[in-house]
Point group: C2
Chain length 299, copies 2
């Protein structure tokens, strides 16, 4: 039975879990603070589990260098600039430590503990839009582990500016942060993305216009992924999928109109734990050449 600790570092809270054979046997949720607090939580969870973990897998939004396990930054959290998680946490716990993008970890969670398809895309629809790709039963990492940035596909070259510096990215049209900001501008009052969805559901025409445009863009992105990757399904998670009964049919209709094959979309059965569970399985999936921090091709 494989025993590991998974960590999911988010913008506001961090979750830590001891996972054995795919089951969470101990867990902690704490505000995202500094490295000492994280290491304390790791020790607590390991102690509570009552067994010695084999490794630690950490999911974070990045940017990062997953080949060396260095987290470059966390949004709005200056304490997390250039933190050598592999080195610091590894020395503190005496364990191998691996770091990867949170959406890629969620894809690993899906691969190991969710729908378990051999070919799929995991897509998180939340404040931003992220993704992870599994092809032929293996994670598609890309050259340095940054594959799966589906939110930064440019769909509208002359479209609205994106936080990344480009224009017309999927995230700049359909991400939760964009929906909240543009919805607030349009309605003349502060609304969250979720609030905008509820206005649209109630029939408010300006809210509905924004939501419909977001669903069309997300559907276009999914149709593109379908043509490029021919997945068995797209698995979705993230806060905005909480309104999937309303949004899902819109996204599916748009995607299906732009794809030649039958599109299949499913919500993750793992809920908020997809990334956390996937992080615990990350040590089994990390490419061999990145285990030591060595750079270079990994064929």
């Amino acid at each position: 039975m494989e025993r590991a600790i998974g960590v999911d570092i988010g913008g506001t809270r961090t979750r830590v879990a001891a996972v054995a054979g795919g089951r969470i046997v101990a867990r902690r949720t704490l505000p995202t603070q500094g490295l000492p607090e994280l290491i304390s939580a790791l020790r607590e969870v390991a102690g509570e589990a009552g067994w010695e973990p084999e490794a630690v897998g950490i999911a974070a939004p990045g940017p990062m260098d997953m080949r060396t396990g260095v987290l470059r930054a966390l949004p709005n959290l200056p304490a997390w600039r250039d933190v050598d998680l592999r080195g610091e946490v590894g020395r503190a716990l005496g364990l191998p430590v691996y770091l990867a993008n949170d959406a890629t970890c969620a894809a690993i969670g899906e691969l190991e503990f969710g729908h378990r398809a051999a070919d799929f895309v995991y897509l998180t629809w939340s404040t931003g839009i992220g993704g992870g790709i599994v092809a032929g039963g293996r994670v598609a990492w890309g050259a340095t582990g940054q594959a799966g940035e589906v939110g930064h596909m440019v769909l509208q070259p002359d479209g609205p500016p994106c936080a990344c510096g480009k224009r017309g990215c999927l995230e700049a049209v359909a991400g939760g942060a964009t929906l909240a900001r543009r919805g607030s501008e349009l309605l003349g009052e502060v609304v969250s993305a979720q609030g905008l969805v509820e206005r649209a559901r109630a029939g408010e025409p300006r809210a509905l216009g924004l939501i419909d445009a977001a669903c069309r863009a997300l559907g276009q992105g999914i149709a593109i992924l379908w043509e490029v990757l021919e997945p068995e399904l797209v698995v979705l998670g993230g806060g905005l999928t909480g309104s999937w009964d309303f949004l899902g049919p819109k996204v599916l209709a748009a995607a299906q109109a732009m794809a030649r094959e039958q599109i299949r979309m499913e919500l993750t059965p793992l809920g908020d734990d997809a990334g956390l569970l996937g992080a615990s399985a990350l040590p089994r999936h990390i490419p061999p050449a990145w285990r030591s921090g060595a750079y270079g091709p990994r064929v």
Copy 2:
């Protein structure tokens, strides 16, 4: 030393080569006719090679079912409807026979004999636009071998109709057939895609407008592939890359404006033989579950 026969069935001509250790030791080029002519050419090439091949790999434009080796159709060639290539050629030669999409075979050629990167996209820019994906040193086949259909990414949901039935596909904006047709309409005389490129190069403003729009669309498609797959490079082949000195800078400028990382594009060093060489190596790359024609997941 691995010895196999590669076949590249095109819309007008078919090429057959005996390949040992990555080198072509005998070859035939014949008009694409029927199965008997293909089998004769295979026997001739095997005889000329002077050794017994281990397998036959066949590249074709499709549609096909590569899991069973059945070619469903070839454009404008009714004799090639539902041809069981694995069964027919296999029985005639007493060899295992595998079939795959020609752009995917070209990607295998690149992986084995070209730039040999672990993470790349092969993109063919010709009458149509096709692709093949290699991730982590392995072909990304998709659920049934149809991954890599980069020409059918919808970039302009309200754009021009595509031969596939959708609107605004990359191929419907930038494919050679589209360029020839729209160029001829616009200029009021029959021009080929290559002729249109030459008019654009000479400064003809309407030709230049079409070509610039095609290069922007291709650049957008490449930028999307970069965000989704983080390849080390995109390798290009196909007839329109013959004018790469003129077209390449336009495509690169468009792609770079829509990507966050440095984009690298290279022409294939294998020229027209990328698909043929890749087909000869196809038997080594085909997923195990498809070797027997068995359906189902192949994790």
